[in-house]
């Protein structure tokens, strides 16, 4: 699978990399890199803008009514003792929250009271006064099929080997560690996990951290500084953006997965150097993600690697959603493309999604990992990972990498993703992203349908994630289905039936070409 895939030969003469592999297929039965972003239909765009305009107008009216006490103000207000202080929030800042988000609050923050596996128990809430006040009805909606949690390989379980091992470790080590890695928080279980993870990824070394978000925000500043250039994909996660900002480096954003734009910016970076002084940059770091969770797209890794080699940049790959979920052995986007992990300078990932735990890691060659051990903000000041969580990762890793069960889970996930995606396309949804990604975003566009979709699916017994502004562009609200290896074929069937039903009710079959599946 790896090693004999040469990027330098085969078609880089004209600089265009078509289909990600330029026709060179390492595995003949592997599909070509195919991503789909059907453009917004005109009528949907117009209706979306119109919808937002109407909501905004009503928002202004309601705000006025609240200001003149015609309507009761339910929101919390500042302490009367502090009325002379400068207001904490600009009144327009929370306009969106007050007038749009509040009305559909019942589809967000749904409280859960069971393991987030294939089915989930949701605590029912009732909202009144346009979403301002809420109360628990006392009922629990049991066995709602879970299409929203990040449970790609189905390790969110409360029984089985992982659970038993985690309990044993909790009894042996306790919950917390109360100290940082550099002081007295480095336990044998952490070292074991780091070694296991490094072996799994086939790299020299690995270092783990207690939180995935903090992994990015506390380590990127250790690798680059003020006189470095960062080229960041337009759709990078907030933690990557924060890490880049905290480092002080110059950040240039390139269009999502657009290799030509990236090449242009790389070339400009190397040729013209730093702004104004034109001194050369010390380092150039390209930051991309393996799978983008809002788009469902997979990074064009061969393309990025080719550019990286040509311009001598370094590559930081955030595999939060792709580790465990892509590749025949779950090794992530590098295995998916048949590239060896050592080609990527910095491999970062999180344990939250595919391993059913929490935390993050950075893997690479030993010089990198030792440097991070000494200089990472998290290793020096933040506490280390909790031991039962480490054990969960160790057990799930041993299942994924060594056993038949692990291979079955990976196969089931790939099958589920494919079936579900094709099913949605047949119904007529516009589905974004790559056919192989376990994240399946479908477009809703209209703001009123965001809340409606969440509610309709819950009525039919499905928990879905609907996202609007500001996580997505304002007119591209979507439903994001997360596939799981724990979902059985029947559950996927039922989900597709429900999706079809809701599409009919809410008129969500925007896709121009209903035969997009092959």
């Amino acid at each position: 699978m790896s090693g004999d895939f040469k990027l330098e030969k085969n078609g880089n003469a004209n600089g265009k990399i078509f289909n990600g592999l330029n026709g060179h297929q390492p595995d003949l039965d592997k599909k070509a890199f195919q991503e789909n972003f059907e453009p917004t239909p005109l009528h949907a765009a117009i209706l979306t803008y119109l919808g937002y305009a109407i909501i905004t107008v009503f928002g202004f009216i309601r705000d006025l009514m609240r200001k003149y006490h015609i309507e009761k103000l339910h929101a919390a207000t500042e302490d009367p003792e502090m009325k002379d202080f400068v207001p904490l929030y600009a009144s327009f800042e929370s306009f969106y929250t007050r007038n749009m988000y509040n009305r559909i609050q019942d589809v967000f923050n749904r409280p859960v009271c069971s393991v987030p596996g294939a089915t989930i128990d949701i605590v029912e809430r009732k909202f009144s006064n346009s979403g301002w006040t809420s109360e628990y009805t006392g009922k629990v909606l049991k066995n709602v099929i879970n299409l929203g949690s990040y449970n790609y390989l189905g390790f969110a379980e409360n029984e089985g080997t992982c659970t038993e091992a985690a309990i044993v470790t909790a009894k042996k080590y306790g919950a917390g560690v109360c100290s940082s890695r550099q002081e007295i928080g480095n336990q044998d279980i952490h070292m074991k996990l780091e070694q296991t993870m490094a072996d799994y990824l086939d790299v020299e070394a690995c270092i783990i951290f207690g939180m995935g978000y903090a992994t990015n925000s506390t380590n990127i500043p250790c690798l680059v500084d003020k006189s470095c250039l960062i080229l960041s994909d337009g759709l990078n996660h907030a933690s990557l953006v924060l890490g880049c900002r905290l480092s002080g480096a110059t950040i240039r954003v390139f269009k999502h997965n657009d290799m030509e734009d990236l090449e242009r910016k790389l070339s400009d970076g190397v040729v013209y150097g730093q702004p104004r002084t034109h001194r050369p940059w010390k380092k150039i770091l390209i930051i991309v993600e393996g799978v983008y969770s809002m788009e469902g797209s997979i990074v064009n890794l061969p393309g990025v690697l080719a550019l990286k080699k040509k311009y001598k940049a370094y590559l930081y790959l955030d595999e939060a959603h792709s580790i465990g979920a892509l590749g025949d052995h779950g090794r992530g986007v590098t295995e998916y493309f048949g590239i060896h992990a050592s080609e990527v300078d910095i491999m970062m990932g999180t344990f939250t999604k595919s391993f059913g735990a929490a935390g993050g890691y950075i893997a690479g060659n030993r010089a990198l990992v030792e440097h991070l051990r000494a200089h990472s903000h998290s290793a020096c000041y933040a506490t280390s990972m909790s031991p039962p969580v480490c054990q969960q990762i160790l057990t799930s890793l041993s299942i994924i990498s060594g056993t038949e069960e692990g291979r079955n889970r990976i196969k089931q996930l790939a099958k589920n993703s494919k079936t579900f995606r094709q099913g949605l396309k047949k119904i007529g949804y516009i589905v974004y992203g790559n056919d192989d990604s376990p994240v399946v975003p479908t477009m809703i566009y209209l703001p009123c349908k965001i809340g409606a979709y969440g509610r309709e699916m819950l009525q039919r017994g499905f928990a879905v994630v609907v996202v609007g502004f500001p996580a997505t562009p304002i007119v591209e609200s979507r439903v994001r289905f997360c596939m799981s290896a724990a979902l059985t074929d029947e559950q996927i069937e039922k989900a597709l039936k429900a999706a079809e039903d809701v599409a009919r009710v809410l008129k969500l079959d925007y896709s121009a070409d209903k035969s997009l599946s092959c």
């Binding site: 500042e78 302490d79 400068v86 904490l88 929370s94 988000y101 967000f108 923050n109 409280p111 859960v112 009271c113 069971s114 987030p116 879970n146 929203g148 949690s149 990040y150 309990i167 909790a170 009894k171 306790g174 919950a175 917390g176 560690v177 109360c178 940082s180 550099q182 002081e183 007295i184 480095n186 336990q187 939180m211 978000y213 925000s217 506390t218 933690s239 924060l242 900002r245 070339s267 013209y272 104004r276 050369p280 010390k282 150039i284 311009y311 940049a313 300078d345 344990f351 939250t352 059913g356 929490a358 990198l368 051990r373 903000h377 020096c380 933040a382 909790s386 039962p388 969580v389 969960q392």
Partner: protein
């Protein structure tokens, strides 16, 4: 008057024809010069000169970046390897093979290894699994989190509390949620690194005041007031904040909360207090620095703490009034964009709170033991003790500093010697990037309420012996 127009034109043509020949030449030259100036590119010093493709390729080919990280040998030579703890970090730990009493982990209430907590964790894992598989907005909100938030709010006496999944990220996300570019934050210079990252992320103007020096703070506030008076319109939109810690991680000192609350109302500056080391330590019921000084929590704008020390769990919380805390549910970056706290850790924290509420004298005992140990260590020659007398977390610094490297080596010698003799202490880890990186190196000692008087006596004895040996070695060398 239309009649005049054709007449004026005719007159103009006639006068032109009558002009001498050199006029034409001069004016022709002027016109040509003007046209040239219009159409030629103006000279700019910083103009990007377009390079040819070949030149660009040459530049690309010849550019050599710095290596991503320093070479392995260099990194290994400059740093010490991690110490390996085999097993639990409870009262007794095994570090690098040595059996020691643990005076390094900040396990103040001794909750690591508590059987009740472990039972509850087991039940929790059998109900919820380990991970929560999602952020709070998308099916990552468990009833355990909601229960923990309610309990913390009740325990401290605030209206609402919010849980983060990592202690470091708590204060680093809370500050930028409120303070934006253009705002002003008055910060004590000894604040911990997480706060510094929060300040950096907020992009506000930072004004440092001398550590725990209320007069210096007042001077700076008065200065800002003067600037505000000059430009009241601008001042009406600039928010001002003060960020302090209850007990400072870097020095072990306690902040002067009554004075700070007085400043808050006098100068209209909002007050954020970071209580990681004072939550579960100060106050009759362990509510923190507000209970210690008998100030209602509602007088503070935000109380932030991490549950990784007293509650021996993982994560952090922010609490305060609904108006202030509710904002973070949509704009706290570490809250919205990160997976929620694993439920077993939330359950461990709740059980920690239960245990604290059932034995409220545990806090007074902890402070008493801390004061006892501090007394014993005060008299040791060669080191100075820094910290609030009742704080279970305090620092030992070299009394007569030589150079930073030599002092660090001295402290490491002391630590190693103590470890060989069965007492585990640690040098406080710091990075060069921290503000005031030239802050003197120190050993941070953490007292746990589980320690008996004999343990404290033994610790003092071993540390005294180690310091004496290290001092003699220095004198000898």
């Amino acid at each position: 008057m239309e009649m005049d127009k054709p007449w004026i034109v005719a007159e103009a043509i006639q006068s032109a024809l009558q002009a001498p020949f050199y006029h034409f030449i001069l004016e022709g030259l002027l016109v040509i010069w003007i046209l040239r100036l219009i159409f030629s590119k103006s000279y700019k010093i910083h103009q990007k000169e377009t390079l040819t493709k070949k030149e660009k390729e040459e530049l690309v080919g010849s550019w050599q970046p710095e290596p991503l990280v320093p070479p392995l040998e260099k990194t290994l030579a400059k740093t010490r390897p991690y110490r390996l703890v085999s097993g639990q970090v409870g009262k007794n730990i095994v570090v690098d093979g040595y059996k020691c009493k643990n005076f390094a982990s900040m396990n103040f209430l001794g909750l690591v290894g508590n059987k009740r907590v472990e039972e509850k964790i087991e039940k929790c894992i059998r109900t919820y699994g380990v991970g929560t598989c999602g952020p709070r907005g998308f099916y990552g909100t468990f009833d355990v989190h909601l229960e923990l938030e309610e309990r913390i709010a009740k325990f401290i006496g605030a209206e609402e509390a919010l849980i983060y999944s990592y202690g470091f990220a708590t204060i680093a996300s809370a500050i930028p949620a409120y303070a934006k570019r253009g705002d002003i934050i008055f910060v004590d210079e000894a604040v911990c690194f997480a706060i510094q990252k929060g300040l950096q992320a907020s992009r506000s103007k930072i004004v440092y005041f001398k550590h725990n020096d209320m007069n210096d703070l007042e001077d700076k506030l008065i200065e800002q007031e003067k600037i505000d008076k000059k430009n009241p319109k601008k001042a009406a939109v600039i928010r001002k904040f003060m960020v302090v810690e209850g007990i400072y991680m870097n020095t072990g000192q306690i902040c002067d909360l009554p004075k700070l609350v007085e400043f808050k109302f006098k100068y209209k500056v909002r007050l954020f207090v970071e209580e990681s080391l004072s939550f579960g330590v100060l106050g009759d019921h362990g509510r923190g620095v507000t209970e210690h000084f008998n100030i209602p929590v509602s007088k503070l704008d935000l109380v932030v703490a991490c549950m990784e020390y007293s509650l021996a769990s993982v994560g952090g919380f922010c609490c305060g009034r609904h108006y202030v805390v509710g904002h973070q549910r949509l704009s706290g970056m570490g809250y919205v964009f990160s997976a929620s706290l694993p439920s077993l850790l939330a359950r461990a924290a709740i059980e920690g709170l239960n245990i604290s509420e059932e034995n409220p004298d545990i806090f007074a005992q902890l402070r008493q033991k801390a004061a006892f140990l501090q007394d014993l260590l005060k008299g040791i020659k060669g080191i100075e003790l820094v910290g609030y007398p009742e704080s279970p977390c305090f620092h030992l610094r070299r009394l007569h500093p030589v150079t930073p490297e030599k002092d660090l080596k001295f402290l490491h010698d002391v630590v190693n010697k103590c470890m060989k003799n069965g007492i585990c202490i640690t040098v406080a880890s710091r990075l060069k990037e921290e503000f005031l990186s030239e802050w003197p190196a120190s050993i941070r000692i953490a007292v746990s309420v589980e320690m008996s008087e004999e343990d404290l006596d033994e610790a003092a004895r071993v540390i005294r012996h180690a310091v004496e040996e290290a001092c003699n070695k220095c004198k000898g060398s």
